[in-house]
């Protein structure tokens, strides 16, 4: 007896884990993965809605979100590589030049 509620709760938990991960982890790549996790949690939620409201709109939106996620990852990783070339570290706390 899986109701829509279960899906939403799962989506919420995934989102929270992702959010906390972004805040807590120091490795940039892991932060990216957490961001992806947040996006996918949202996707899950959208799919659930789509199923239980019998509407395709949710699935359409998921496709768009995935495209955006992909694009974002591209840009993000590009920045990351550029930063790595500047300083050979993937610790985000070392990038504090904007302090002040």
């Amino acid at each position: 007896m899986l109701t829509s509620l279960h899906y939403f709760i799962l989506s919420g938990i995934l989102f929270t884990i992702g959010a906390v991960g972004v805040l807590v982890r120091r490795n940039e790549i892991v932060m990216f993965m957490c961001v992806e996790m947040m996006l996918n949690a949202a996707n899950l939620s959208l799919i659930a809605f789509s199923r239980y409201l019998n509407s395709v709109d949710g699935q359409m939106l998921v496709l768009l979100v995935m495209a955006v996620a992909a694009a974002e990852v591209v840009v993000g990783l590009a920045i990351l590589v550029a930063l790595y070339r500047l300083r050979p570290t993937v610790d985000v706390d070392d990038m504090n030049e904007l302090k002040g």
Partner: protein
């Protein structure tokens, strides 16, 4: 012509603007000629106005030409209008004529000065302001001219501002003048409150009839008098004039002898209808005039600085003018103003010529025997000296005598004082003549070899003024000598208004024999003064020194100008400075600056606080974003 009266004011203004903008390009000669030409045109205009006025009926000589509306607020209306009547045209002619002559002289005198162009710009500005003062129909516009001449006086006294004494003198002149101006301004306010208008026509017409209480009238008159006292250097506001000698000599001649200082006398004459409403005010005017005349003459006896003697002489002669208008002899006061302009300006110009010959020497103890070396200067100075001493036939004789006669009819005390002053005048002026030009030369050796007469551009103006000093008096020959006293008659159009028999003591007319006696006495006193000076400074040159020593303390007192400057410094200036210093250190510094700086510090502190948020750590910023998103969500849900 009367419709173009405003041109008289326009020319000097154009001169200022052109000189200020293009003076450098015109070069020294160009600037000087331009400025002089402008004043010359004003002079021509003034004369034409005078002629136009003379062509009219005697009763029709009060002409007003409206220029534009200046202020129109509620009940307060001020129109800028020109008043063309006997008094103003006479003043305008004298002012522009003497200015013209002095402009030409200045071309020679200031030839070596770097700021030549600026000098002429200031001088033209002065003429503009003075003519505004004299030709204005509205008292507020007159006040504008009044302030304008005060400003130019400051600028020109402190013309050589690199010298501290000159800069200080300029400040002193302006500040002391200002004290008087406060009185004038308050008087204007009171006039407006009482009469509802500042237009001279309205005030003078309504004045006597308006049923003004004598208290108010006295207040107005005394306040106006305060202004006049400041501008015309009478007691107690005369202290700026001797110091004003720091300025270039032509400036001393023009501003502090012939024109600006006479503005006070003009003002009293112009508003005479108001003064006549208050006997006490008139008494004050006459008393201040008489006492100042005597006081200044005594100081002039002792000074060694050529220009200072002339400065005190000016103060003294202004006292005569005040005495004249104070006893109701307005025309006589103005007559003396006119003749004084001629011979005093000449005295100053001649002094400038002497200084020019002696490379700037001012101390008469270092002069002497110059008669043969600078003859033109000598003869013109002599003529002016005779005029001021009241030598029969020359200009000063007629005007001074008229004042003495009219004073005698009112108050014997002031007459006696004035007569004594006349004697002192003759003495001190011939003291100058004999010390500077006669006797043995006490000139410094280095300077003596370069003694030379001044160039024509300087001597011709002096000769013109000398001629005027001789013939200028004939416009006012009294009846007993066969003349018609033309000037008194002419000025009746302006000064004869509402002339009740208000007098100080009651007597209005004397007898012919009295007048003759007085004439003879005046002449005798003048000749005695000259003779005494001859004895002191030619015959027995050690007599002055011996007299000074024997007078001891009295001499020291007079020589130090009765310590008035020191008194003012101690009683007024220093306390004010101390208060200002206290306020600057304790109020302005800690409190006002504290508040301003405090606000700045506050802003900085807030900034520093907010700075804590800028850690540079990405994760902190991410947290911020998350918190913000959560808050917005909560807000949306709760609404």
């Amino acid at each position: 012509m009367l419709d173009y009266a405003w041109l008289v004011l326009l020319f000097p203004l154009v001169g200022v603007i052109l000189n200020a903008l293009f003076g450098r390009r015109l070069g020294k000669r160009g600037a000087g000629v331009l400025a002089s030409a402008m004043v010359g045109l004003s002079f021509v205009g003034s004369v034409l106005l005078l002629v136009a006025l003379l062509g009219r009926e005697e009763t029709d000589r009060y002409v007003i030409r409206r220029l534009f509306d200046w202020i129109s607020v509620g009940d307060f209306h001020v129109q800028v209008s020109l008043l063309v009547d006997p008094l103003s045209t006479l003043m305008a002619t004298v002012v522009s004529g003497v200015s013209f002559v002095i402009h030409i002289y200045s071309i020679g005198y200031m030839a070596d000065d770097e700021r030549f162009v600026r000098y002429f710009a200031y001088l033209n500005l002065f003429v503009f302001a003075m003519l505004t003062l004299v030709l204005s129909e509205n008292l507020l516009v007159t006040y504008v001219g009044w302030e304008g001449v005060g400003l130019c006086s400051y600028l020109l006294i402190g013309f050589w501002f690199e010298r501290k004494s000159a800069a200080d003198a300029g400040k002193k002149a302006f500040l002391v003048n200002r004290v008087g101006d406060v009185g004038f301004a308050l008087g204007l306010i009171l006039i407006f409150i009482t009469f509802g208008s500042l237009s001279m026509g309205m005030v003078l017409e309504q004045g006597p009839a308006a049923g003004v209480s004598s208290g108010v009238a006295t207040a107005i008159a005394l306040l106006l008098l305060l202004g006049a006292v400041g501008k015309s250097a009478q007691i107690p506001l005369y202290v700026w004039l001797p110091d004003a000698m720091e300025g270039p000599t032509p400036v001393s001649a023009l501003i502090h002898a012939a024109t600006m200082v006479t503005a006070g006398v003009y003002m009293v004459a112009r508003t005479h209808a108001l003064f006549q409403l208050s006997t006490s005010a008139m008494t004050w005017v006459a008393a201040i005039g008489g006492v100042t005349a005597f006081f200044a003459a005594t100081i002039a006896l002792t000074q060694h600085d050529l220009k200072r003697v002339l400065a005190y002489s000016t103060i003294s002669q202004l006292g005569y003018m005040f005495l004249g208008v104070g006893v109701g002899a307005y025309a006589a006061g103005i007559f003396h103003l006119t003749t004084h302009a001629f011979f005093k300006a000449l005295l100053f110009l001649a002094a400038g010529s002497v200084m020019h010959a002696l490379a700037g020497e001012l101390d008469i103890r270092k002069m002497g025997g110059l008669k043969g070396k600078i003859p033109v200067t000598y003869w013109t100075f002599l003529i002016a000296a005779l005029a001021i001493a009241g030598f029969p036939g020359l200009a000063g004789f007629f005007s001074k005598d008229e004042i003495l006669w009219r004073t005698f009819l009112q108050t014997k005390v002031l007459w006696a004082l004035a007569l004594l002053t006349a004697g002192l005048t003759a003495f001190y002026i011939f003291r100058l003549v004999f010390s500077v030009f006669h006797g043995k030369s006490r000139v410094d050796k280095k300077v003596a070899s370069h003694v030379h007469e001044s160039p024509k551009v300087m001597t011709v103006p002096m000769m013109v003024l000398a001629a005027l000093s001789v013939v200028g008096g004939y416009i006012g020959v009294p009846k007993i000598l066969g003349g018609g006293n033309w000037i008194e008659h002419f000025l009746d159009g302006s000064l004869g208004w509402h002339l009740p028999t208000l007098t100080l003591t009651g007597a209005a007319h004397g007898t012919v024999s009295q007048e003759w006696t007085l004439l003879a006495v005046s002449v005798a006193v003048a000749l005695a003064g000259i003779g005494l000076a001859y004895v002191f400074y030619v015959r027995k040159p050690d007599l002055p020194m011996r007299t000074a020593k024997s007078l001891g303390g009295l001499y020291t007192l007079v020589y130090n100008k009765y310590y008035v400057d020191e008194l003012y410094m101690g009683a007024i200036v220093k306390p004010l400075k101390d208060v200002a210093g206290f306020l600057a250190a304790r109020v302005d510094g800690p409190i006002i600056d504290g508040i301003v700086e405090g606000i700045g510090a506050l802003v900085a502190a807030v900034g520093r606080g907010l700075q804590q948020l800028q850690t540079g750590l990405v994760r902190n910023y991410a947290l911020g974003i998350l918190l913000g998103a959560v808050l917005m969500l909560v807000y949306a849900l709760v609404r």
